[in-house]
């Protein structure tokens, strides 16, 4: 029984750790399906995390924080859109620039605003997204296994977690069952085909990047006002890049993206568990090595088990009318 509740606890933290990566991964999915490389996920998430924490700290409202996060992240997405769609610039460069911009600007603005070395003040409960108890969680908690899973694993997360998991089937439905999804998939494969069919490539790509911006905003807000209680320097810590790797592993498909992100969540949770544990023969492993474990394993898994993962054909290429 002790082992069972251990597993539940670990899975519970896996879910919490997977959420920001999942949201960023879906953001990347919309963007890259439309043919725009989105290496700036990291930067958008970081910018959003700061905006959410700062506004929530000032106003005391998690919701206003979330709005600010979405606003900042979408704004950054629009910079990327102008650079890569209208100006036909290099999408990698534009994305990298956004990452650096976010890394520097958050600390700079944060320090001159709150004078805490780039961090924001700790948020009170009202300024955060607090756990939601699902109906009957307490009553059902007594039932062994099923009830415990419901109470401890499924119930008791904050709103953004549920939104993230809901976003997966919604994305799958949008992508494969709607007109917008058909066009989105087409524009990333062969934008000329879409243009000759009389549909604006520019408009469609803007729409995709806006959706990506909103999802990154949610991911950032989750980091600083859901999972955490303040913003700290570089708090995304490469999650945007892991999300990008997960996107490739998932072959740009929403449901596999969910599993990939959960896998990373499990690895991260295991990492936390393994810190300070004495291993037979090896002894205690330095904490840095353990912390690196999920990243190393992700790379190994991605490189080793990925199989053939073909990116949308037009990804990274600015669309220019022929002649």
């Amino acid at each position: 029984m002790n082992f069972f509740s251990d597993v539940i606890l670990m899975l519970d933290s896996s879910i919490r750790l997977a959420v920001p990566i999942l949201l960023a991964c879906l953001a990347g999915l919309y963007s890259e399906r439309s043919g725009i490389v989105d290496i700036g996920l990291e930067g958008k998430m970081l910018g959003a995390a700061f905006a959410a924490a700062a506004i929530a700290a000032v106003t005391g409202s998690a919701w206003l924080g979330l709005l600010a996060a979405i606003f900042v992240s979408s704004g950054m997405a629009m910079i990327h859109a102008i650079a890569s769609i209208n100006m036909r610039g290099n999408q990698i460069i534009s994305g990298v620039a956004l990452n650096f911009l976010a890394l520097g600007a958050t600390v700079f603005v944060g320090h001159s605003w709150f004078k805490r070395g780039g961090s924001t003040p700790n948020l009170g409960t009202d300024a955060r997204f607090s756990p939601i108890e699902l109906p009957f969680a307490e009553q059902l908690g007594g039932i062994p296994i099923v009830g415990e899973i419901y109470e401890q694993l499924i119930s008791g997360h904050n709103l953004i977690v549920y939104v993230a998991f809901l976003a997966v089937p919604v994305t799958a439905w949008v992508l494969f069952r709607t007109r917008f999804g058909l066009r989105l998939r087409a524009v990333g494969e062969n934008p000329t085909a879409l243009d000759t069919a009389g549909i604006s490539v520019t408009k469609l790509r803007y729409q995709a990047l806006i959706i990506g911006g909103i999802l990154c905003g949610l991911a950032g807000a989750y980091l600083s006002t859901g999972q955490g209680a303040s913003f700290s320097d570089n708090m995304t810590a490469g999650r945007g890049f892991i999300a990008l790797a997960a996107l490739i592993f998932a072959k740009w498909r929403p449901v596999p993206a969910l599993w990939t992100c959960l896998l990373f969540g499990v690895l991260s949770a295991a990492q936390i568990r393994l810190q300070g544990v004495e291993f037979p023969l090896i002894g205690e492993v330095p904490v840095q090595a353990i912390q690196a474990l999920p990243y190393i394993l992700t790379v190994v898994l991605l490189a080793g088990f990925i199989g053939r993962s073909v990116a949308p054909k037009a990804v990274g290429q600015p669309y220019i009318k022929e002649r």
Binding site: F176, R177, T178, R179, F180, G181, L182, R183, R185, A186, E189, N190, T192, A193, L194, D195, T196, A197, G198, I199, K313, K321, R323
Partner: protein, 551 residues
């Protein structure tokens, strides 16, 4: 379309007639009427004061050399570009075509030379793309499936609606493009170089589809530079030259020679007017050669032949019968399964990627079939392509260091010798026309010491002026005492140039023919029947019919 599909299928002529009447009421028998259309791209005048009318329910051809402005004109009609001046009338009504979706609303559909399909979509998804008719796909997919069944029945446009486009043959992909246009209600169908990528059998099928479309009241505008197609299928033809319409004729009142002359503005020698070759010693010997492709499918089956100095040996055949693979093995790009190749009395050693260089050292020069895939780096400047593969020769500088001056001087010399236009060796190769790109490859391979020239599809996608020039160069090589192996799917070209013709079918050499052999003999052997052996067997298959019908 109010009639039920079955009615149309049963009485196509009547349906077409009703359609004509209905539209005649709108006031014009002209589906398309262009009046004074002009378009310039910067300093280049792509279309100059174009007047052209296309009758409804007809097949109208537009011929012209590469760069004559055919595709630009049609892109204007399809709303891809906007004309600088002039008026466009569709069904007698003046229109300003804003964009492609507006053209589609007006009933104008276009099948581009390079297909506008999403490769990893199913046929159905491609057909509804842009005409989904609602936010959810399920309903429109259902509607498109029904419509496809009807169109397949009416026009012989059979394609599996659930197949992925990337799994379809080129001919089938083209059918998807036509279906796409018809699904959007196209009454006028613009076909841009539709047979460029098709095998003769597929082209034949396409022409049958055109006839069915015409029988049901559709109008087709066919852009091509193949005169044979114009003669075979069109009702009327407009000739374009340097952005202008030279003339519009009834097809029945003209001839290929006449059209060719109008296209280039001077008399073209359709035959290279060569003397007989003077075969001397064997330069290339191919002995019992077999090869399989990467999937293990046998492509070349026990082929033996030789090529002597001072002769041109042509390899004819319908595309895809092993000619490409044979070329690749001879030029050292691929390895044989069995058999030997001897050049100048030395046996070719196959040792992976070094073979191509080894073969060149033995005196073989190779002009590959697909210049953009294997012959050139499109992003290179002209002079860089001019030394591609030969950059290690000492005349281009010592060791790893390139002498840019030497390389560019030589490039300039070749530009002059081969009349490559524009004459600028610093221009990016992608900016040259197809014919001039081909000349860049030819110049590189031919302008050196060599004993045998192996040429694949020397004039594919090349305009008539350049064809003539290239043919003369090949004959000149032969007359200088070199051996030439020519592979082409253009039978006219093979017959005009070769001293001997080998016909390939299904990886084997069926027979050897004289270039003066009859149409029937070529037709039979290209269908795999040796006319010498089965002289009295009457196998009038699809291929001989096609050849004769197309003349």
């Amino acid at each position: 379309m109010i009639e039920k599909p079955e009615d149309i299928a049963r009485q196509p002529q009547q349906a077409a007639g009703q359609k004509l009447e209905g539209q005649g009421a709108q006031g014009s028998e002209l589906a398309i009427d262009l009046r004074g259309v002009s378009k310039a791209f910067g300093p280049v005048q792509a279309n100059k004061n174009i007047f052209m009318s296309v009758k409804r329910n007809s097949i109208h051809g537009i011929v012209g050399e590469n760069g004559a402005g055919k595709s630009t004109l049609m892109s204007i009609l399809y709303g891809f570009y906007h004309a600088d001046a002039g008026e466009i009338f569709v069904n007698g009504a003046k229109v300003q075509i804003k964009d492609s979706s507006h053209a589609l609303e007006l009933g104008i559909g276009m099948v581009h030379q390079h297909f506008m399909l999403v490769d990893n979509f199913t046929v159905l998804e491609n057909i509804i793309l842009g005409a989904e008719g609602g936010f959810l796909l399920a309903k429109s997919l259902k509607a498109a499936r029904d419509e496809m069944e009807r169109l397949a029945k009416d026009y012989g446009l059979e394609v599996d609606p659930d197949a992925l486009v990337e799994d379809l043959s080129v001919g089938q992909q083209q059918r998807v493009e036509i279906l796409k246009a018809l699904y959007r209600g196209a009454e006028v169908l613009i076909m841009d170089e539709p047979t460029g990528v098709l095998t003769p059998t597929e082209a034949d099928h396409l022409f049958k589809i055109f006839e069915q479309l015409r029988a049901q009241g559709k109008t087709i505008i066919l852009i091509t530079h193949k005169l044979r197609e114009i003669m075979a299928i069109t009702d009327s033809v407009s000739v374009m030259r340097r952005g202008e319409i030279v003339t519009t004729l009834e097809t029945s009142k003209t001839s290929p020679d006449n059209l060719a002359e109008l296209m280039v503005g001077r008399r073209v020698e359709m035959d290279a007017q060569k003397t007989r070759g003077n075969p001397a010693k064997k330069v290339l010997e191919v002995k019992n050669l077999s090869m399989t492709d990467e999937l293990g499918v046998p492509r070349v089956k026990n082929v033996s032949f030789d090529v002597r100095a001072g002769e041109i040996v042509g390899i004819a055949g319908v595309a895809g019968n092993g000619q490409s693979q044979l070329l690749e093995v001879i030029s050292g790009m691929d390895e044989p399964l069995l058999g030997e190749i001897w050049i100048n009395g030395s046996r070719v050693e196959f040792e992976g990627s070094r073979t191509a260089a080894h073969v060149r050292h033995l005196g073989l020069a190779h002009v590959p079939e697909d210049r953009l895939k294997t012959g050139l780096v499109a992003q290179f400047e002209e002079w860089e392509n001019s030394i591609l593969g030969y950059s290690e020769e000492p005349k281009y500088g010592p060791g790893q260091i390139l002498s840019l001056r030497a390389a560019r001087e030589e490039a300039d010399r070749r530009i002059e010798k081969f009349d490559i236009r524009p004459p600028n060796c610093r221009l990016k190769t992608a900016n040259f026309s197809g014919g001039n790109q081909q000349k860049i490859v030819l110049a590189r391979e031919m302008d050196r010491e060599l004993d045998i020239l192996v040429v694949g599809q020397p004039t594919r996608g090349v305009d008539i002026g350049a064809i003539e020039f290239i043919h003369k160069q090949i004959v000149a090589m032969r007359d200088a005492g070199k051996a030439v192996l020519l592979v082409s799917v253009e039978l006219d070209e093979i017959r005009a140039l070769s001293d001997r013709v080998l016909v390939m079918f299904d990886g084997k050499i069926v027979t050897e023919l004289s270039p003066d052999a009859s149409e029937r003999e070529f037709g039979l052997s290209m269908a795999g029947v040796d006319p010498h052996e089965d002289a009295d067997t009457d196998t009038s298959g699809a291929n001989p019919d096609l050849k004769e019908g197309a003349q």
